[in-house]
């Protein structure tokens, strides 16, 4: 394990990058889930992580904020290493928690706090973790709920909401932390098909407004339209990365081509022709 060698990562050229991941590896038992993943995300970019189920996308996302502890590699947020403090020792829970407040996360199964109303879910962490002034937090939370179209549901408990509504609360809750980076872990996978659109609409707006986002998704149409860049992962390694238009119309690897073939029917809006390999 080599996590204290950060001297080459902390120079100024890295600082316009919000997120920089290098050499990230994670193994569950005998299964190598991530194998030397490296990429970076600049401010305002929306990066979509694509890949077959079990390819390691979600694990990668969870390694970024150390919900899953990587076996090796670095994760830098605004040039500061996550999980390992400057002395090279693994952060304690308190230091790690402080780093995590700068990264918003939206979960596949919403993970709202069931005992709190919609509004309380949104203000909980800004008030009690970030300890920001109540008036300011409440005003911002109400604005966020208006923005995701759920202001009239502010006093309802999550259990009374549809999946799409829950996920929009999940997004508002993450935005309320004013994060430098927003992580989406398959945000629409648990939704009924007719509810996917309302969540993607909110995400599309965020991407357009310059929120820095890393999105794990199977929504190919969304990735094609909203991503600044797509990263295709298979069996724990980055197979291909590029501009979405190039990736979807002319993937340069056979594995990506096979993947797109499988998902093309469901995701591609105008059934873009997949070029045959030479």
């Amino acid at each position: 394990m080599n996590m204290n060698d950060i001297s080459d990562m902390s120079d100024m050229s890295q600082c316009r990058q919000v997120l920089s991941v290098s050499g990230l590896s994670k193994r569950f038992g005998s299964l190598q889930v991530l194998d030397g993943i490296g990429f970076s995300v600049a401010r305002g970019e929306t990066v979509c992580l694509l890949g077959p189920s079990g390819s390691g996308k979600s694990t990668l996302l969870r390694c970024i904020n150390w919900l899953e502890r990587p076996d090796s590699g670095h994760v830098l947020l605004d040039g500061r290493q996550i999980g390992v403090s400057s002395g090279g020792v693994v952060m304690n829970d308190r230091e790690l928690a402080l780093m995590r407040t700068r990264i918003g996360m939206v979960f596949q199964h919403f993970a709202l706090w069931p005992h709190l109303s919609v509004l309380q879910n949104v203000v909980e962490a800004p008030l009690h973790v970030q300890r920001r002034p109540k008036g300011e937090v409440m005003a911002e939370a109400e604005a966020l709920l208006r923005r995701v179209g759920l202001f009239d549901k502010r006093d309802v408990f999550p259990a009374r909401l549809s999946g799409g509504q829950k996920q929009r609360v999940g997004i508002a809750r993450a935005l309320a932390m004013k994060p430098a980076l927003l992580l989406f872990d398959e945000p629409t996978s648990a939704l009924d098909p007719e509810l996917v659109g309302e969540v993607l609409a909110v995400m599309r707006d965020l991407a357009r407004e310059g929120m820095t986002m890393v999105v794990v998704t199977h929504e190919m149409a969304f990735a094609r339209e909203a991503a600044s860049r797509v990263i295709f992962i298979d069996r724990g390694v980055i197979v291909e990365t590029g501009h979405p238009e190039a990736f979807f119309s002319a993937p340069s690897t056979e594995r990506a081509r096979q993947f797109l073939l499988r998902y093309a029917g469901a995701g591609l809006p105008n059934a873009a022709p997949v070029p045959t390999p030479p």
Partner: protein
Amino acid sequence: MINGFGIVWAERGLMLAGLANTLLLSVLAGICALLLGALLTPLLMHRAKPVARSVRVFVDAARCTPFLLFAYMVYYGLPSLGLRFDNWSAGLSALIVYHTAYMAEILRGAWAAQPRAPIEAGQAFGYHGLALFRRIVLPPLALASAPVVGNQLIQIIKDSAFLTIIALPELTHAASSIQSRHFVPFAAFITAVLLYWALCLVVEAGVSTVGRMAEARR
């Protein structure tokens, strides 16, 4: 028979003093056992096996001891080790310690059944340690476990009756002394039973209030 209730009525001061003491014992023991149980729960769930295991030994040992024996040990047994209590502190601490084990086990079970995702979300949003437990883990846990906790409170009320054997002047003790003084066992004991029942109805009302709160969130 009617005469018996007349005698109990005449001794109502003694009966009500017993009721007040039972109430005091049950409320104090209920609150303390619940709080201490909530403190033990994270230890029962602790990642470090030796911690979890030693708490588990206490919890299992206490739960498998009849309360009467437990109270005997505290009042008659501990003095031989040099720890001497008066009957009030012995009785109250026996109730508290014994039922702390139950509360810890109740909350642990409810915790294990809670979905993992909201807790993980708490961690992702910067919660850790005690604040994570208090603000994210405990509230849904308390709502989910209210019916079982209420049941345990009723158990505490009933177990407090055993403390008559160490001469605590609680409700059973009062009923017992009225019957032995006036030879009215049926009237004295049925009155005590009705008063215990009334206490349990209060607990049940509390449980159904929490139940409604839980229902709104389910």
